[in-house]
Symmetry: C2
Subunit: 631 residues, 2 copies
């Protein structure tokens, strides 16, 4: 699969764009004309700069308002094209994009347009150039690739071909099957973009909301598969207009783009009829069977506080590491490691971020294969130092520079525990009531808003998961965007919360922690009321929810007064969807805004989004020292 990206997709001046694109691994680049016009080097300089980066110019674009011009404008339009041909020859590229005419003076007519393209093909041929025609979704007369293809066919010229763009086709819901009847040699290049599904004016949507394949909701994989099935083996090129990307890091956006194409190619490769596409061979997405452990980095003092909270939550210290200062706290199928070693990555993480849940282990079928896939998709591998005879677990860098360990039955926690850990218990540990916590329900990571798409793509491309639609969470200080990555069996559930300003609870966490990371862990119980009773006995301090909330919950869901009273007594939040009921109990915050949640799902599939506004208000009250003004 030959990969390309348009310069308009990322931020920076032309030289930085090219550098980021080359470093990300792309084979080629589309030169967006304004990037060239704004740059003060000659076309030849630009061409050399591109080639010095080992890149090819895949396309020069856009050339607008060409076909179907009335006689009064036609000759000047061809003159305009000749000037662009001059530039292309100096740049050293042979393909230009003509997008369908939007000019109010333009005339319709397939044959008129075909004749224009035939003549343009003649002129291009004289210079050894080619012209690709693309139907803009908002073109005045041509806004459907099927009509553009009819024009190209009637133009009947070897130097005239079609350009397909996933956004223009999919935004208009044009039948993807129509692509399968186009000869591969008449597709001159393919442009790709995804977008979130929001019903709005197509031009506005395209200019502001496009994102990388896999980051949005359009069926880009099906679109690309249809193209691959024609036997097309040319460039797949990202053309993304996105306000956030324009203001983001050119390097990070280019890396995301490259990952999105590799991921897309891998999905398309799995279609039996798309065998013409040469793509990187890699293991399939890893099925996650559960969260093996979550590891906190800490120091002795903080670890003692954390241990005290864990005890009230019913955890017991069950093992300690043979060679490192790492303790294992267990309950049900939940394992929490607390690492206070003065050496190594955990300590380095502690030095920057303070006590935090900096690592998690995901249990997969084959850790080696999952690791191979992750690295093929550009994840950064992590090697830890292990003592002789100890188990080395494959790991990659995740959100906020934290770690994602990959474990399986051959390196599973039982064996890993036997080899590296010795049974242990807390000295003088008080007897605590069992809290019935069974497994990790979900892990909530707070990230800077501009990183959300990066981490959605990271999780969904490596692991067999899906993302849910974005939800707005209302914090008194602003909107927080929340999106979930989860698998069908519910054994992996990660909520990503994107903070836009530092006065929100999420933004405050990022500011205080000096980075993105796990802000809360949710554990599942099969009996929320039994858990609540045990926790009360253990001295656990729940987050106090406003009494006003319970009157509304009772009325909204028609709960009986007794249940609603019990919820209120235990500070349990309640939600219901078409699948069942949901109960949520929160801890107070610990350290710089970290907290625990306990949930019971009775068939419910969501995450209690309608309760978030009340939970955040309660957390903000709890964080506020008495007498301090509200922020």
């Amino acid at each position: 699969m030959k990969t390309s990206i348009a310069t308009v997709s990322i931020s920076g001046e032309l030289p930085e764009k090219l550098e980021a694109i080359a470093k990300a691994g792309f084979d080629g680049v589309e030169i967006f004309e304004n990037d060239f016009l704004a740059f003060d080097g000659s076309p030849a300089d630009v061409g050399k700069m591109v080639r010095d980066h080992g890149l090819e110019i895949t396309l020069f674009q856009p050339f607008r308002d060409f076909e179907g011009m009335p006689p009064s404008h036609r000759s000047r339009t061809f003159d305009r094209a000749e000037r662009k041909f001059d530039v292309m020859q100096e740049l050293g590229t042979d393909l230009v994009l003509v997008c369908s005419n939007v000019s109010p003076v333009s005339l319709g007519g397939i044959d008129r347009a075909a004749a224009d393209f035939h003549e343009l093909g003649e002129r291009a041929a004289r210079r050894g150039l080619k012209v690709g025609y693309e139907a803009l979704a908002w073109g005045r007369h041509i806004n459907d690739h099927r009509d553009a293809w009819e024009i190209v066919r009637r133009a009947d010229h070897p130097n005239i071909g079609l350009i397909l763009d996933s956004f223009h086709t999919l935004s208009r819901k044009i039948d993807i099957n129509s692509i399968r009847s186009i000869p591969k040699d008449k597709i001159f290049i393919v442009q790709l973009a995804d977008a979130p599904l929001i019903d709005m004016d197509l031009l506005y949507w395209s200019r502001h909301f496009r994102n990388m394949p896999g980051e949005g909701d359009l069926p880009v994989t099906a679109f690309t598969t249809a193209i691959a099935e024609t036997g097309y083996d040319g460039y797949f090129s990202l053309e993304i207009f996105n306000d956030q990307f324009r203001g983001g890091s050119s390097r990070a956006i280019a890396d995301d783009g490259y990952r999105s194409l590799i991921y897309l190619g891998d999905q398309v490769r799995r279609s039996p009829n798309a065998s013409g596409l040469t793509v990187l061979d890699m293991p399939d997405r890893a099925t996650v069977k559960g969260v093996g452990f979550v590891e906190f980095s800490s120091d002795e003092k903080d670890a003692a506080d954390l241990a005290a909270i864990l005890r009230t939550l019913g955890f017991r210290k069950t093992a300690k590491h043979k060679s490192k200062k790492v303790s294992l706290y267990s309950q049900g199928d939940i394992r929490l490691l607390v690492n206070t070693d003065e050496k190594g990555f955990a300590n380095a993480s502690f030095a920057v971020h303070g006590t935090s849940a900096y690592a998690m282990a995901l249990v997969v079928d084959d850790a080696g294969q999952a690791f191979e896939r992750a690295v093929a998709l550009g994840a950064e591998p992590f090697r830890q130092q292990v003592a002789a005879g100890e188990v080395e677990i494959p790991a990659i860098r995740g959100v906020g520079g934290g770690l994602v360990y990959l474990i399986d039955d051959n390196s599973n926690l039982g064996r890993f525990s036997e080899i590296d850990f010795l049974p242990a218990s807390e000295e003088g540990e008080p007897e605590m009531a069992p809290a019935h916590l069974e497994h990790v329900d979900h892990i909530a990571q707070t990230v800077a808003y501009e990183e959300m798409l990066t981490w959605l793509l990271f999780y969904t491309s490596i692991f067999e998961t899906q993302k849910t639609p974005m939800v707005d969470i209302i914090d008194p200080a602003g909107v927080v965007r929340s999106q979930v990555v989860e698998n069908a069996s519910g054994t992996l559930r990660i909520t990503l919360n994107g903070a836009e300003n530092r006065r929100t609870l999420a933004g405050h966490f990022i500011a205080e922690k000096f980075g993105s990371g796990v802000q809360h862990l949710a554990f599942h119980t099969d009996d929320i009321f039994a858990t609540a009773a045990a926790l009360r006995k253990n001295g656990f301090k729940p987050l106090a929810i406003s009494p006003n909330y319970y009157g509304d919950v009772e009325a909204r869901f028609g709960l009986d007064a007794e249940l609603s009273e019990r919820l209120k007594e235990e500070n349990i939040l309640y939600d219901r969807d078409e699948h069942g009921e949901y109960f949520q109990l929160y801890s107070m915050t610990y350290s710089e805004g970290f907290f625990f949640e306990i949930v019971e799902r009775r068939g419910y599939r969501g995450y209690g989004a309608p309760n978030a506004i009340f939970r955040i208000a309660a957390l903000k009250r709890a964080l506020r020292p008495e007498g301090m003004p509200r922020v």
Copy 2:
């Protein structure tokens, strides 16, 4: 005009919201239910808090999915209503909003809905409460206020009335005249919101894009006038859902809201048939006849540099202030003051912002009246210290805390100059070629993005001006939003550029200047080439534009090669619209990113937006020290 605002319109927790709303001057507040539920005080506490602020609770909202429920759901729906009535009585408010049903189980039928409302009216009456019905633009069966009104009419109950909301009516382009046949006593409250005109899903548009009346593009004034003409004299209440407002300063957003209502009332008052509306009497919007002067704050050293640049631009020092260190530089109808006094506001501004164009004087018909209107609309008056016998000019605080002086024929620059200024000239000033600059074409202010609406409302409400649609300006480091305030005669033109991040040229300016302010001044010439020649002779250094730009301009506009060559030689940018041609010549940047522009308009009405990307790229190149990496 009784003013109100919904708590959902601004950021913060409930107490801060109420404080900001009261301080802004509102008479009442709508309690948005979630704000109440998230708060940990009782309904009675909330009611007391509202009244302690001198506010009235105008509405409790929303009550959803009420009318037309099937028999299986109907009784629970009424139970739900009774629970909300309990809360309302404790809060101390008598009006609740029922918005039209969106539930998929709800049934249509005007009479069914009317019967439901009749029963609800009976229940409300028993408690002395009232119910207002509002048609949501996306209601399942009812999405038009005319249908909601038919239901209210058939409900035929004194405790049931209609709630009108400008967004729901105007977003669906419902005929405003239909309001004129509704009896005023059946309109229980009026909600107001504006929005920018973007074609998108109504719910998404409403939830994210609403803004204050006058900040958007909807005909809110006509809507409000139609209501006032019914004789309605109840509350006009802002209900604004806006992501930016949710993350903004509660105080600033509340102030903007109050200003928007006062301005709206003033416009409506001018309709001959809306005399029932009692609003603040104030002078009409001031007609601006020109820019009297622009004043820079500086120190001796910077002022010498500035004076040198002004000389190359053909300005001459023509006067100096009698008692302060202020020099006047003149050319054509342009007057620039340079204030290096060590006392006073200019000096204080210099201490914070460095050399900057911190003040401007606008020439109006009657400065006293303009000042009176500005202050009535919440502008902050500014009093300067003047020596005995000197002229005191009315002034208000503008963008970035700078000043807007208001001058007229009774306090005009001639007289003000005679009284306070003495003719003067620069000692040993070299002879410079005349540059033909005639008047200020426009003043470009750069502001933080979240302040843009504030300043648009400031200018358009005080001065007789209009705003143009927002334009995206592409900076290599992100998108800058640009919007223009201008009057029909072109004697006042202000461009506002909203910077979203500090790496854009605009954002860098704000960061370096410690605030918003004038980033460039554009002067008009009647002969750009004569000006360019004179400037060259005077040693002026124009901003160097990429040669690539000129090839495109020549092709795009079909310019003859000679003109395009002249443009290139002089680094003049070119644009054309249906009214005529535009020529732009820029200076290098001075101080922390300030620059001058010279334009010639040959009928052209815009601001060269298509050229901005090339100008910004050139400015960024010019700002970059040789050998420094590009940012």
